[in-house]
Amino acid sequence: MGGGAAGLRAAIAAAEVSDGLSIALVSKVYPMRSHTVSAEGGAGAAFGQDDSTDLHAFDTIRGSDYLADQDAVEAFVTEAPGEIVQLEHWGCPWSREPDGRLAVRPFGGMSVPRTVFAADKTGFHLLHTLFQTSLKYDRIVRLDEFFVTSLLLEDDRCSGVAAIDLRDSEVRCISAKAVILCTGGLGRIFSFTTNAAINTADGMALAYRAGVPLKDMEFVQYHPTGLPGTGILMTEATRGEGGYLVNKEGKRFLEEYIPSKMELGPRDILSRAIIQEIEKGRAFEGPYGEYVHLDIRHLGEALIDEKLPFVRELTTKFVGIDPVYEPIPVRPVVHYMMGGVDTDLEGKTRLPGLYAAGEAACVSINGANRLGSNSLTECLVFGARVGRRAAEDALEASEPAENPLVRLASAEQDRLTSAYLDNEGGRERIAPIRRELQATMERGAGVYRTEESLKEAVEEVRALKERFGQLALFDHDRAFNTELVSALELGNMLDVAETVVTSGLERRESRGSHTRRDYPDRDDQGFLAHSLAFSTPEGPRIEYGDVTITRWPPVERKY
C-alpha cells in the first residue's frame, strides 16, 4: 500500500526475490504523485574517505536525542551506501563531482558532508527513477486510485485489504500473504505543513485500528524553513550550501542558540530558536504570521542555478521573490512524523502478515528527531528490507482462505454505503471538522507544548470524533467520489491525531522535537523509552517499550 519511495522500493525488492510472486501496488493516487516527489535536499549515506558508517550512526543517534534503536541505525547506515548506488544503477541523475563520482553536500546535524543529491529535486528524481524501473516487472500489478478502507484480518493474521476502486466506489477484496504499509506521513492533521493533500495518516490508522500500536507519535518534526502561508518547503540544502538565517535586526541569531553548528544544526533546535526569536519580538511580521529571513544571496546566481534551481523557481512563482536578490521569508512548519507503525528491523509488525516501512513506520532510526536527508535513504533501505522479508515470508505462507475475506469485504461495502454513500441524514460537513482538527493540533501540539495545551487538544479531538460520527456528504455518486475519500481520510486523521496528542500528554519531558514548557529537561530515568499507543474504545492507551542501546550510551546532546 502506497506508491512512494518506500512502497516502490519494497515492490521491486519483492519482485527480485522470486518471479513466482505477484505483487500488487495499491495506491490512492498514481505513484508518481506520491509525496516523495516533493523532497528536495538529498539522501544521506556514508561514502566518502573522511566518513564512516559509525560516524553516520553516531550523528543519527545523537540527532535522535538517543531515542533511536541503535541496532536499527547500525543496519541502516551499513546498507545506505549500497542503496544509493543501486538507485544510481537504475538511472537516478545524482549530481556529480567533475570527475564523474557522486557529489555530496553538507546537511543539518551531519558531522561531514554525506548527503547525495540531484540538484534540489532529489525526491522527484528518486521517485521517477523508482517508478520507471518498477515498470520493468510484469509481476508488479498496479492498482492505481484504489483507496484501502480496512485491513482484512482472519485468525489473528492480516490476510489482505478491502479497497475501493475510485472509478466506481466499490469495495474490492484483495487477499494477500503479506501486506506492507508504505503510506507516508500525516502532515495534513496540522494547518501549516509542507505535506501534500494526500498525507492523511491512512496506513497508520489502518494498523492502529487492527490492534498494532503506533510508536513515538508525539514526535512531530517542524522543519525550520517553510514559506509562510502555503507552507511550501525551502530545503535544508539552502543552508547546506551556506545560507544564513537572519532576524529582524539583520543578525544571524543562531549564534545565541547553537554557535558550533549555526544553520547546520538539527531541525528541532533550529525550529525552537526561530520560535524563540518570534516570542522575543525579533521577527518580521506578515499577513501569514511572523517569520525570519533565509538569505542565500551571497551564494551567487551561478551556484543557485546549479544546485538550488527549484528553490528559485518556487520563491519566484509563489511569493514573487528572486532569492538571488532578496532574502526568503521562512518560519517553522510541520514536515515529518518520526513516529509511526511499530515495526522491527525488517519491517514486521506484531500482527502476522502485516509490515510497514518508510515514514508510515517507526523502526526506529529517527528517535525523537530526524536528521535531514535520512528519510529518503530510510525509505530505500527499509523499503528494500521489508520487500525482501515480506516476499520470503509470502513464499512460505499458505494461501489465505477466500470466503471469510470476501465476507469481510462485503461487510465493509455495506458499512461504507450506509455510513456515507446512501446516508442522507447527518448534520456535519467535512471541511469544518477538518479545519478545527488542524487548528487544534497547531495550538495543542506545536513546537512548544504544555499540559493544558495537550489536555485541551485531547478533549477537542475527542469531541471532533463525535461530530465526525454525524457526517453527511454532498456527493452520493459512485463515479470518482472524492468527497468519500476526503471523509475516510478525515476519519484516519482523527484517530491518529488522538495518538499524537495523547502520547504527547503522557511524555512529561522534553526530548528532540517534543518540547514541554512545563518539563523542559530530558528525563532518561523516566522516559528513555518508546511510547506505544494502542487503540481502545476509550481512546489510545499509552505503554512504553525499551530503546535498544548498543554502542552509544545516552549522554547529554551537545553540539
Binding site: 515498470l135 510484469d138 508488479i140 500489478v141 498496479r142 492498482l143 492505481d144 476502486d165 472509478r167 466506481d168 459512485r478 463515479a479
Partner: protein, 135 residues
C-alpha cells in the same frame, strides 16, 4: 499495466473539430507553415517545367520564358517567393530547436544557430547570383 476498466460508469469522450487548426494563434501559424510548403513544391514543379522546356529545344524554351514574363506568372512567382521566405523563416526557427551542439558544458545558443543558417543562406544566394551574373 492497467487493470481492465471494469467500471460501469461511461466516460465522456470529446470530439475534435475539423477546424481545430483555426482555433488558436499557434495552431493557425502552424497551418500557415504547413500550407506554405506547398508553394515550395509549386516552385519545384516550375523548375521541372524549365528543364523540360530546355530539353525540347530553343523554340519551346523561348515560349516558356515568354510565359514566365506574363503578369499572371510574375504575380504567381511573387506569391511563391513570399510563401517560401515565410516557410524558410519558420524552418530556420525550428532548426534552432532541433540542433543541439554542445561545447563542453554549454550548448550553442539558438541565436547563434539562426545566425549561422542566415549566413549560409546568404552565402548560397551569393553563389547563385555569381553564376547568374557570370553566365
Amino acid at each position: 499495466m492497467t487493470p481492465e476498466n471494469g467500471s460501469r460508469y461511461p466516460v465522456y469522450v470529446r470530439k475534435i473539430r475539423r477546424t481545430w487548426w483555426l482555433r488558436t494563434g499557434p495552431f493557425r501559424r502552424f497551418a500557415a507553415r504547413e500550407i506554405t510548403s506547398m508553394f515550395g513544391a509549386a516552385f519545384s514543379a516550375i523548375m521541372l517545367l524549365f528543364l523540360f522546356a530546355l530539353s525540347r529545344g530553343t523554340v519551346a524554351y523561348g515560349s516558356f520564358l515568354r510565359w514566365l514574363q506574363t503578369p499572371w506568372s510574375i504575380a504567381l512567382s511573387a506569391i511563391i517567393l513570399v510563401a517560401v521566405l515565410y516557410h524558410t523563416a519558420t524552418w530556420f526557427r525550428l532548426t534552432t530547436r532541433i540542433l543541439s551542439i554542445r561545447l563542453g558544458r554549454r550548448t550553442v545558443s539558438r541565436g547563434a544557430i539562426a545566425a549561422g543558417l542566415v549566413l549560409a543562406w546568404i552565402a548560397a544566394s551569393a553563389l547563385v547570383a555569381y553564376f547568374h551574373v557570370w553566365f
